[in-house]
């Protein structure tokens, strides 16, 4: 049951047809990585009233993060991201339960992290861990809301194998990627919010526009392109004969 405060807090979004605040309240969402993407999605998912946010990041805030990681401020530098994020959310929306995990996701802990979540949100900064999460999403049949950025370029998609393709259908795990990528701060913000809206639609049981598809956003010419990602019959993760 929603309290009167909650009814008030969410009154504007509850005007939307098909909106079910109760479902958001009951939902648990795992957000892995609290960088530019994670900050954006976390902030708005908390504001929207997702009952339980499971935050996972083993990193501390550095000055170079502040151009895009909007949950933190100068005073956060050197502190753990999950703690700072938790503090910020508590101020924004006290009714949200935050579970903190000061770890980097790997094949060992992924299973436990994802357990009992309705959605996995990708806020990572490297491909390897993304593929770990992708595998887990397939194993536990939890949708994986993928997002990634590079400079002005950003991708977002929702993978729910075997019903749709998975990340490994889209790109092979052994492609070359690099760390310390250039990032225009707004790109992860934008992609992160697109992820957040897909998460909310999924939890509401509405049509999730990016299911099995990929949004390619290019800030240089502000182009949004949505392509469909077919299942790869030879996918190392989700292929079904």
């Amino acid at each position: 049951m929603l309290s009167d405060e909650e009814k008030q807090r969410y009154s504007r979004q509850m005007l939307i047809p098909g909106w079910d605040q109760e479902r958001l309240k009951q939902a648990t969402v795992l957000i892995v990585g609290l960088g530019g993407l994670g900050c954006a999605s976390t902030l708005y998912l908390a504001a929207a009233g997702i009952g339980r946010l499971r935050l996972c990041d083993g990193d501390t805030v550095g000055r170079s993060d502040l151009n895009r990681q909007t949950l933190y401020s100068e005073s956060s530098i050197g502190l753990f991201k999950v703690d700072e994020a938790g503090r910020r959310i508590a101020r924004l929306n006290p009714s949200i339960v935050v579970e903190k995990f000061k770890v980097f996701v790997d094949s060992q802990n992924a299973g436990k992290l994802a357990e009992g979540c309705q959605v996995i949100v990708d806020g990572l900064d490297n491909l390897e861990s993304r593929f770990v999460l992708n595998k887990e999403s397939f194993r536990q049949r939890i949708p994986f809301v993928y997002g990634a950025v590079h400079g002005w370029l950003g991708y977002a998609g929702v993978f729910y194998a075997p019903q749709t393709a998975c990340l490994a259908c889209l790109m092979h795990p052994d492609i070359v990627s690099r760390d310390r990528v250039p990032v225009a701060g707004i790109t992860p913000g934008l992609i992160g919010l697109i992820q957040a809206s897909e998460v909310i639609k999924w939890i509401l049981g509405r049509d999730t526009s990016l299911l099995g598809r990929l949004l390619i956003y290019d800030g240089t010419d502000l182009s949004f392109e949505i392509i469909s990602v077919g299942k790869n019959p030879a996918c190392p993760v989700c292929a079904r004969a």
């Binding site: 749709t164 049981g205 509405r206 999730t208 099995g212 019959p233 079904r240």
Partner: protein, 639 residues
């Protein structure tokens, strides 16, 4: 998506009310061809082996296939698939009409219903608008009445599928009804729909279906239609529909009479095609895109009863609810057909169950006391009406028969199993197999129980000699591969045999639509994959060797045909065993009727072999290996 697909797949969680649309998995279609193929694969993958068919873990799949709705002769079918409560194996049933095409015109290839709804709902699909709407006011309505009401409420141009009281009450041979007389009747799909509290599906769409090569498709199909207009079979077909075969079947001693006691019906002239056309016909009725209009929309007029409108009775219902019940007037047959349709029961299984009950009554195994003071005599339409009411509402012994004749026989006992005319729990179609060994073998081995459509071997028996069983197995296997393909593509099967349209032609259309460029050999392989996957699924669920499920009731070998042209004919258990041995060998299964690893791996079903092995029923590999080609090409003669 220019390949005949609409592009979207709906998954609907009835418990949570979630409605999600996914891009249709083209790879899956390429592999399994949609329709029966996709349902078989999804059921195999997604339904736990211990799941109760009427429980939350079973799913109901509505699939419009790859060719349905495309400009192709009788591209009208829609396939329903779920684990069957009747056979407790993978079940599928399809129907013509206009629902399948409508689904694709609305933009969806498939709808998958998961879990159980708490309150009665119906699915409303109007292009992109997809809603689960409250169906409380429709719950309890009879099938045809409900469709009428929904059309009034939503609009004439909605295509609607409903279930009746039988489906709601979990009668295991319930059907799904559409277009006031098209039924997906077999394997109790209606019961599954009812268990999910899904009263109806209403679809409307105005989108286009895009195919790979419309010009060549149009050219080819137009040519086929114009050519076949002059085919000699077109005339009887358009005039009588399948009811045409009732006389033929009686003359050839394969029509079931008095619950399959004999194969000759003395009053055939009162229930045959001529009677139907003369006394009952209102209008001819065709499915989407079919120029053969075998559907007969009719009325049943019985003094003292309201005049009722229905579609049929076609051959199966005409025989199973006609001669098989000793009915003496076509109006009575039609009326029983209407009763079953409106209650939402399969008129084939229904006919079988009534006949079984009638014989039980004749033999004193059930009494008037059991029947609330009514009798249940051959040819009495009032008795049938009352009996069906008891069954549909599970009143008294009605509950026994609500599970079909197999379960009823288990309750009644006292030797009644012998004449419960079913295999795997599903009642037989309208052909007696005692002097048609191939047909009997088809019943025994069909994946969904005693159903004729998997391989309609009756004409083969006529042509190849009805007294011999040798060599029949290979042909049955071939037909079991080619006939179900039509269910896989979701087009009608009837024009193939009847109008001499070759499989090559149909595969050519398939390629025009999909651009796959497949050959007949390839599609036959796909069909064999489906067949074996279903076999594995069935064995895993029922946890016994395949052979133990493949025997007909004892009447098939203990009783000889007592009257008519087939007098004295019949099969011995030895002959039946021989056919089974031949059949398993022809399929590459072991003598226990279990698929072997060699075969499954040859078909790219290694994972099924592993699962079957884990269940402990993988066939022992055959000395000398599996036959390189399973089944033997055969061209059934048209009439």
């Amino acid at each position: 998506m220019a390949n005949g697909l609409a592009g979207k797949t709906l998954r609907i969680d009835l418990a949570r009310g979630d409605i999600r649309s996914f891009p249709t998995d083209e790879g899956l279609y390429r592999h399994w061809h949609g329709g029966r193929g996709i349902t078989a694969k999804i059921l195999y993958d997604e339904v736990p082996r211990d799941a109760d068919p009427l429980g939350p873990e079973n799913i109901l799949i509505v699939n419009a296939g790859i060719m349905s709705g495309c400009f192709i002769p009788a591209g009208s079918k829609v396939e329903f698939g779920s684990v069957s409560p009747l056979t407790n194996g993978p079940g599928d049933s399809n129907m013509g009409g206009h629902l399948g095409p409508a689904l694709k015109f609305a933009g969806y290839d498939m709808i998958i219903f998961e879990d159980l709804s708490r309150r009665p709902v119906f699915l409303f699909v109007d292009n992109q608008t997809v809603e689960l709407r409250d169906a409380t006011k429709y719950w309890g309505m009879k099938s045809l009445d409900c469709e009428k009401k929904l059309k009034e409420d939503l609009g004439e141009d909605f295509e609607i599928a409903t279930i009746g009281p039988a489906g709601e009450n979990g009668i295991l041979f319930s059907c799904i009804t559409h277009d006031f007389g098209r039924q997906a009747g077999r394997t109790g799909q209606g019961a599954v729909m009812g268990s999910k509290k899904l009263k109806a599906i209403a679809v409307r769409g105005n989108k286009s279906i895009h195919v790979r090569n419309l010009d060549s498709l149009t050219k080819q199909v137009t040519e086929i239609i114009l050519r076949t207009k002059k085919h000699p079979n077109m005339v009887p077909w358009q005039k009588y529909g399948t009811a045409f075969f009732i006389q033929w079947s009686n003359t050839n001693a394969c029509i079931p009479a008095y619950n399959f006691q004999t194969t000759f019906y003395e009053d055939i002239d009162r229930i045959d095609g001529d009677q139907l056309v003369e006394k009952c016909l209102i209008t001819h009725k065709a499915c989407f895109g079919c120029w053969m209009n075998c559907g007969k929309y009719t009325k049943a007029v019985i003094p003292g009863k309201p005049e009722v409108h229905l579609e049929g009775p076609e051959y199966e219902t005409g025989s199973l609810c006609g001669s098989n019940l000793g009915m003496k007037d076509i109006n009575h047959v039609a009326y029983i057909n209407w009763l079953l349709d409106n209650l939402g029961m399969d008129s084939m299984s229904g006919g079988g169950v009534i006949a079984f009950a009638m014989e039980c009554f004749e033999r004193g195994l059930i009494s008037e006391a059991d029947l609330e003071g009514h009798s249940l005599k051959w040819g009495s339409v009032d008795d049938v009406e009352h009996f069906l009411d008891m069954v549909a509402h599970k009143r008294g012994i009605g509950e026994w028969f609500a599970g079909g004749s197999k379960r009823a026989a288990a309750k009644i006992g006292r030797g009644s199993e012998k004449f419960a005319m079913q295999v795997k729990g599903q009642e037989m179609s309208g052909y007696d197999g005692r002097w048609a060994p191939g047909m009997l073998l088809s019943y025994m081995t069909a994946d969904i129980g005693a159903h004729h459509n998997r391989s309609w071997t009756i004409t083969v028996d006529m042509a190849e000699g009805r007294d011999t069983v040798e060599g029949r197995a290979k042909i049955v296997v071939y037909l079991q591969h080619i006939r179900p393909l039509f269910d896989t593509w979701c087009i009608c099967r009837l024009f193939w045999g009847e109008l001499d349209i070759t499989p090559e032609e149909i595969v050519e259309s398939l390629n025009h639509i999909t651009g796959w460029g497949v050959s007949v050999a390839e599609v036959l392989r796909t069909s064999e994959m489906i067949w074996n996957l279903n076999r594995c699924h069935y064995i895993e669920r029922n946890r016994d060797n395949g052979r133990s499920f493949d025997y007909p009731p004892a009447r098939a070998w203990e009783d000889k045909i007592p009257s008519g042209p087939g007098t004295g004919k019949g099969l011995s258990l030895a002959q039946i065993d021989r056919m089974l041995d031949e059949y398993y060998a022809a399929r590459g299964w072991d003598e226990k009727g279990n698929p072997t690893r060699e075969l499954l791996e040859d078909l790219g079903l290694g994972y099924a072999a592993d699962r079957l092995a884990k269940a402990g029923f993988l066939g022992r590999s055959i000395p000398g290996g599996i036959p390189p080609v399973r089944g033997e090409k055969y061209k059934p003669k048209a009439f």
